[in-house]
């Protein structure tokens, strides 16, 4: 075989010249974007230089956690859970009609569908914390603003996934129910709803878990929950309280994640 090797090409190129050029163009565009973005971060090297000292100092002052503070954060912790839970509950109720008008196959009219989509986009693209800013301006500081913020963000989240589930329903079942002479609402209730319900429940529990996390910081903008105490403690440089609060949040988040995973596993 080796004696007639000369007959074969001696070069191999994975990509043609054009493909290579396109790859280079992408690489350059990417590099330029990164360089441009880097310009925003004018690093204060003086700050950066002693960052590790600052961090060590902070860690030193955190230890030991101030256990006596625990009774003062108990109520805010419960409030955090309430904000997440009540906000999620309200979001479920609101998300169902929104999902049905945002799904192209149940909206009925183009205009209705458009409104539904608009609600989805508006709700989803504004972060819970920013919704918090708005509702604090409306209701004043406190958990009501937090609940409203959680609801405002979660409605779009849940409704979008449910709307997708509605759009993917099995049409065979719908036709079967329609064939019995059922009304539109009956079709909705007996053919579409059972297919969508598991998605709704799964999404809701998943979102509740996220909301616990969100509710832990809503206090930063005055919308209730443990974030208020955390912010205050940081501003007072009460680092041993900060550590205690962080531990409390850690436990809360881990437990809620566990609960959410367990419940979702059982439901599905």
């Amino acid at each position: 075989m080796t004696d007639r090797l000369d007959a074969y090409p001696s070069r191999y190129q994975r990509y043609s010249g054009r493909e290579k050029a396109v790859q280079w163009l992408w690489t350059i565009a990417f590099a330029l974007a990164v360089v441009w973005a880097m310009r925003a971060i004018d690093v204060e090297w003086a700050f950066l230089g002693d960052a590790h000292i600052q961090a060590l100092d902070m860690a030193e002052r955190m230890w030991p956690p101030r256990w006596s503070y625990a009774q003062q954060i108990w109520h805010p912790l419960v409030e955090t859970i309430h904000i997440a839970t009540l906000g999620t509950m309200a979001a479920v109720v609101l998300s169902i009609p929104v999902a049905f008008i945002a799904a192209s196959n149940t909206a009925g009219y183009k205009l209705v569908w458009f409104v539904g989509r608009l609600i989805l986009i508006l709700s989803r693209s504004i972060n819970t914390v920013i919704w918090g800013l708005l509702f604090v301006a409306i209701f004043g500081p406190g958990p009501i603003a937090g609940i409203c913020a959680v609801t405002a963000r979660s409605t779009g989240f849940i409704a979008k996934l449910v709307a997708e589930a509605i759009e993917e329903v099995d049409y065979g079942q719908i036709e079967a129910v329609e064939a019995t002479g059922a009304s539109k609402l009956q079709v909705l209730a007996s053919a579409i709803w059972p297919q969508v319900q598991p998605v709704l429940i799964g999404t809701t529990i998943y979102r509740w878990d996220i909301n616990i996390r969100e509710a832990s910081v809503l206090g930063f903008v005055g919308a209730g929950g443990i974030g208020l105490q955390l912010n205050a403690s940081i501003n007072e440089f009460a680092w041993n309280q900060v550590l205690l609060i962080l531990c409390a949040i850690l436990v809360l988040v881990v437990v809620s994640e566990y609960v959410s995973a367990r419940v979702r596993a059982r439901v599905s």
Partner: protein
């Protein structure tokens, strides 16, 4: 008597579970020949082959190839040794998203540095050889096809070309036809037999199909429960000996086969 090409002495492999996968296996290959290893699933065929290039670490015993004792090699030496041992797999083990040529060239990875391989700066001779091999295995013109667009038989041909690209001194074939239909299996076996003859190298093949083993192999080794229980030319593989190897042996098509832990 000349230095043997491959000499395996008292090879033992224990998996952590307490099961002895290989129990003191010894045999020697002195001339370029195709050695078929038969036995029911779990008999240790796959472990035996993988202990030779140390994809599975043997527990004790020696594997001598070209004057080196493979189990005692350092990882750097092992890399050098592995590039001289070609291996062909049941599931082809091609990189699906790469093209045929890219897959064939991975056979040279052990010979070049990282950056050379990343930029595909192989020597002209290597590139020519890769094209020649593709023609030899019947895939001329397929070089820019992606591996996931090929049929099973074509993939195994790429697998053979990749192994030969290493210019190996020994070829290991781990059930190369088990995922193929009967007629493709024969074609692949013919191809494997052909290239092994052309290159005058010894080869070990795990094979569950006794008929194929009889047709293509120069010598057959029978394994049972990790022990070597048969080692002779195919002509001596009588029904009685098959019963020794397989327990109750009923027909020429061996029973169902499962993947062993590798």
């Amino acid at each position: 008597m000349t230095e043997p090409l491959l000499e395996i002495t008292s090879l033992v492999k224990d998996y952590g579970t307490g099961r002895r996968a290989l129990d003191s296996v010894s045999f020697t290959i002195r001339t370029p020949q195709l050695v078929g290893i038969i036995g029911s699933s779990g008999a240790g065929k796959s472990t035996l082959i993988r202990c030779i290039n140390r994809l599975v670490e043997p527990t004790s015993g020696s594997v001598r190839l070209m004057g080196a004792d493979i189990p005692s090699l350092s990882s750097r030496e092992l890399r050098k040794m592995r590039r001289q041992i070609g291996m062909i797999f049941q599931e082809y083990n091609l990189v699906e998203r790469l093209t045929v040529m890219q897959n064939v060239l991975t056979g040279r990875l052990g010979y070049v540095g990282f950056w050379t391989s990343v930029r595909y700066r192989y020597s002209e001779e290597d590139i020519r050889y890769a094209y020649a091999l593709l023609e030899r295995v019947g895939l001329a013109g397929f070089e820019n096809r992606r591996a996931d667009a090929l049929s099973g038989g074509q993939r195994q041909r790429v697998g053979i070309a990749r192994a030969l690209m290493q210019r190996p001194k020994l070829l290991l074939l781990d059930e190369p036809t088990a995922s193929l239909d009967p007629s493709t299996s024969r074609q692949i076996m013919q191809l494997a037999q052909g290239v092994i003859e052309e290159q005058h190298m010894p080869a070990l093949i795990n094979i569950h199909d006794v008929t194929l083993a009889r047709t293509f192999c120069d010598r057959i080794i029978g394994m049972r429960d990790g022990k070597l229980v048969f080692d002779a030319p195919p002509a001596e593989l009588t029904h009685a000996r098959l019963v020794d190897i397989y327990g109750a042996y009923e027909n020429d098509e061996a029973g169902p086969r499962q993947e062993e832990p590798a």
